[in-house]
């Protein structure tokens, strides 16, 4: 029952950790009329304390590393982290850049990776739907 309701109301927090804005725009495209993820009850809350799903874009620059950890810690359990795009998954287009941590999973645990540079809104939506499917496991983890 508990996870059933939660899966119908995933609130998201979007944080840009140094991406090129491509995936950020696609995240915004999700909120707007054409894709409209509010159909699944998804709302951009922009507040870690209200969020359930963290959509992280960007290869995590050294300066935003600590901020990302803070945001992660401020989000109450159960929570889900989705790394949007290639650079969030493993930092790849920015191979030679000296100031990046090469991926979100180097800093916080990631549940889902969305490939693509930039990833299509459909791919992010697929990831969210998959993430909702993982929710039950997450609730059990949080209860432990």
């Amino acid at each position: 029952m508990r996870e059933d309701a939660a899966t119908r109301s995933p609130w998201i927090l979007h944080f840009d950790t140094g991406s090129c804005n491509g995936c950020d725009l696609e995240v915004w495209a999700l909120l707007t009329p054409r894709y409209d993820v509010e159909r699944f009850g998804m709302v951009n809350k922009a507040n870690p304390k209200h969020a359930d799903i963290l959509l992280i874009t960007g290869p995590v620059t050294k300066k935003s590393e600590q901020r990302l950890i803070n945001l992660y810690n401020q989000t109450p359990d159960p929570k889900l982290v989705i790394a949007c795009g290639d650079c969030a998954s493993n930092g790849v287009p920015f191979l030679d850049c000296y100031n990046v941590c090469m991926g979100v999973d180097k800093v916080i645990p990631v549940d889902l990776y969305v490939p693509g540079c930039s990833c299509r809104p459909e791919a992010i939506m697929d990831a969210v739907v998959k993430g909702i499917g993982m929710w039950k496991k997450k609730v059990e983890e949080a209860d432990r």
Binding site: K106, C119, R120, D126
Partner: protein, 133 residues
């Protein structure tokens, strides 16, 4: 026209939304989605591997395989352009998101469009981090 009129008009007209997972979106046929190999034609020139800007492709001439790390591919279509034998094609379908970073291996002898799925090899840094846990 004022916003009130526009709002009422929107209220009465059909929503602009594509009900995506239940309905297909119009991904154009030339969309740069993901690369696939037709291994029958590969002549092992390694041009794709050399030209890949993100080193997503690994060619293994001995084992006769082409391997691509999906999350490393930035869909620039360079490999398709440089391939002398049209072995590589760009499909409009994008790579699926998933809990693991998949590595797809195309080998000679597989049917067209078939591949084996592996996981992205961990870097040294990853391994030390996992050991710490």
């Amino acid at each position: 026209m004022s916003m009130i009129v526009s709002s009422l008009k929107n209220l009465l007209s059909k929503p602009d939304t594509v009900r995506y997972p239940f309905e297909r979106t119009d991904i154009p046929s030339n969309n740069r989605g993901r690369v696939v190999w037709d291994m029958e034609r590969c002549i092992w020139c390694r041009l794709c591997e050399k030209n890949c800007p993100t080193k997503a492709i690994v060619t293994d001439k001995a084992a006769k395989t082409q391997t691509i790390t999906r999350v490393r591919c930035i869909q620039c279509r360079t490999c398709v352009d440089v391939c002398p034998t049209n072995t590589i094609a760009m499909e409009p379908v994008y790579s699926e998101p998933g809990p693991a970073r998949e590595v797809h291996t195309y080998a000679v002898g597989m049917k067209k469009g078939e591949y084996t799925v592996g996981l992205m090899p961990l870097s040294e840094r990853d391994e030390t981090r996992l050991r710490k846990r």
